[in-house]
Symmetry: C2
Subunit: 433 residues, 2 copies
């Protein structure tokens, strides 16, 4: 079935058309999109997804954190079993069109092909239901932390805490979801397997000229929200020695986090992407600063050491600036290994179909990482041009999209069917072609 | 006349009551006020001022940059001559009640006392008109630069450029003024002398236990708006060496500006009060940062050297971060000396009334500095508790307010009258009492 070129041609056109539609929702002048979680733009994208579900006989469920599920009855297989595919529709501010939306669209169109193949007797499904999941607030741009919808779904974050999270304006996620009418009540069946297609957000696939990455693990991360307290005062007459300049202290922290990553003996990334300053007026010394700092590594020890060094710097910065430095919250994300059985099956089916692939790790967080805590999960990457993401310049070519979709179809056909190779073991992390 | 205790008692009560009314407009929970230039709160304060003018027979003029003038006809003196007193009603975000508003209120009530004294024949005015000036956008918090209204008034800033200035949301000053109905058309007579009472915003008067400061000069300043350009990218997968992190580069600049002030051989202050970061999302590397940097000194050479050192740091920061650093605008404020004849007259009249005073310099900018470029200007300071300003903790006691007001009355009585001591010269900068 999956080598049926005319059929795939139709599916490819459907896929690219549908993806193009989502790229228009929340489009901004830069060429990117701004579709922040639970914003009006996110609401429009969700409405389009639900319309599509209705047109293609998916049952729609919306849960209490606003995750949307489109449930497709394959009419065969175990009625207690659900195979999930999905990703997210929210974006960074002025972000790219591909991050998240591509995975949702692939999941949608994949469902149509799978249902058709089941009807034709080309797949004998173990799972009776194919479920497209669209997770709330993956990006963590408007509401922190990231992966908020999938974290609540798998029970790693309490619902009430998640709904109470506030954006920069003090709007709660609960209120924002209710404003766009996506605060649901549905009880959602447990996933038996989860598969997600996502852009790589790195340049390894492009450099190797390989269309698909099978992700075996995710780096760990340490995310720290710092609060720096100084004293508001006039930037003019206040003697330098009397100042408690919270922006100066925060700047030292930004530099410090960067230096720690450069001096680590392991590969360790660090960044500060967001800073909120009060009162943020040119003539007033800042008295309050919040900083969102993160360290990432595939070496858990290196993360611990980075945090230790970072905290060790506080006293000196506090002393030299007269400010108070406080860790307001801190989140540990452990290194996660994806389901080995799923990896082995995908390796096997891609090899048999002569689709080249690369084994990869992911540094960015994805909903699939959260799902791995409750069911076997599989994450597939497609190339990102120049590795750029969270930017209007984010780009994946149509050819790479359709090649990724074809690999996904092979993977889902295998994993959803009753003939999955239970005895397969993942290979070493090498390119196969 | 001015030793008439019952009269002053009435004036003091009027003064404190009126000041208290302005302290309620734009009051915020912290105990401070947020009355940003041309905001609805500023509009309410302006309306209250105009109501007060109407109740006390001041003619109201609003010019093209929204400066408000209340013109009081003293019925005697040269009808071509105008004596101006004033300050501003806009505040910093979550700023203090005293900064600006105190000077406007003192100017208002002083006018009533002066008019009464002229009517009684106690003052023989050279100036027929007493004008209370309320300057637009002194603070530079919402619209930069600071001193915008007085700068346009004296011809140091073109009207069209000032009106086109935009706030953080992209709202122009023109639009904001028209929204609160203070975009006027009045042609305003030229001031013959300007006098302003302001809080010190430093602790010298409090420490010396002296109620009044006569300001002889203002420090120079160098104000630099920097733009840092990096590249938006995912904070996770982007390799450290490929990042162009504009917030990291900006943090180096903040630290650098501070170090320059500490290493200067002259007294040199520096600060960065405001930073705007885009997209300011925890998971995206910042691609655009704007920084408002200032250096202040009473040594013009030290300012030049500071700027030189600051610019010298750009190459290294650009190289280490991959970012582009650009000076978007740069403003030089020269050291300004206030009118010596006015200072000598105020010294003389305060000495004769046994009011102790201190000679001072101001580091903060004030509208009086702008006015000095078109007419003799006099700036008087009253104490600030602990020297704190631009903060809800800003405070001047009622006793200090009324003592400052009495000193102002003496000064204005002398300067407005036909008997000003033309041959007086300012003394050396010492306390007299």
């Amino acid at each position: 079935m999956l080598d049926d070129a005319p059929f795939n041609h139709t599916a490819h056109a459907t896929l690219l058309d549908l993806f193009s539609e989502f790229g228009k929702i929340g489009a901004v002048q830069s060429g990117g999109i701004s579709r922040l979680a639970a914003s009006p733009e996110d609401g429009l994208a969700r409405d389009s997804l639900c319309d599509w579900f209705r047109h293609h006989d998916f049952e729609i469920l919306v849960d209490e954190i606003g995750n949307i599920f489109g449930v497709l009855d394959l009419a065969l297989g175990d009625p207690t079993q659900h195979f999930f595919c999905g990703s997210h529709l929210d974006s960074q501010p002025d972000g790219g069109k591909f991050d998240g939306a591509l995975g949702v669209v692939c999941a949608c169109v994949c469902g149509l092909v799978i249902k058709d193949a089941v009807a034709k007797g080309e797949i004998d499904p173990f799972y009776r239901y194919y479920v497209v999941a669209c997770w709330t607030g993956e990006e963590g741009a408007r509401f922190q932390p990231s992966l908020i919808g999938s974290s609540v779904f798998v029970g790693l974050m309490p619902l009430e805490i998640a709904l109470a999270r506030q954006d920069h304006e003090g709007v709660s996620l609960r209120h924002a979801l209710s404003q766009i009418d996506y605060l649901g009540t549905a009880q959602v069946p447990a996933p038996g397997h989860y598969l997600e297609v996502h852009i790589e957000q790195g340049a390894k696939l492009e450099t190797a000229n390989i269309p698909i990455g099978i992700v075996s693990s995710c780096w760990g991360a340490k995310k720290i929200l710092m609060e720096v307290s100084g004293r508001p005062d006039h930037t003019g007459p206040t003697p330098m020695e009397d100042r408690q300049d919270a922006l100066l202290a925060a700047s030292h922290l930004v530099v410090q986090a960067n230096e720690i990553s450069h001096h680590s003996t392991s590969t360790l990334y660090s960044s500060v992407g967001r800073i909120d300053v009060s009162p943020n007026s040119p003539n007033t010394i800042a008295d309050k600063v919040q900083l969102w700092i993160e360290f990432r590594s595939n070496d858990g020890e290196a993360l611990l050491e980075a945090e230790h060094q970072f905290r060790h710097s506080f006293d000196g910065i506090a002393k030299s600036t007269g400010c108070e430095l406080r860790v307001a919250s801190s989140e540990d994300r452990a290194v996660v290994e994806f389901d080995k059985h799923g990896i082995a099956n995908v390796e096997d089916v891609l090899s048999k179909s002569n689709i080249p692939y690369l084994h990869m790790t992911t540094i960015a967080g994805h909903d699939a990482i959260r799902l791995q805590s409750v069911c076997p999960s599989t994450l597939l990457f497609v190339p990102s041009r120049n590795g750029i993401s969270h930017s209007p310049d984010e780009f994946t070519s149509d050819d790479d999209i359709t090649a990724g979709f074809d690999a996904m179809l092979h993977a889902v056909s295998r994993l959803i069917s009753a003939v999955a190779c239970d005895d397969l073991q993942p290979s070493s992390c090498e390119t196969k072609n």
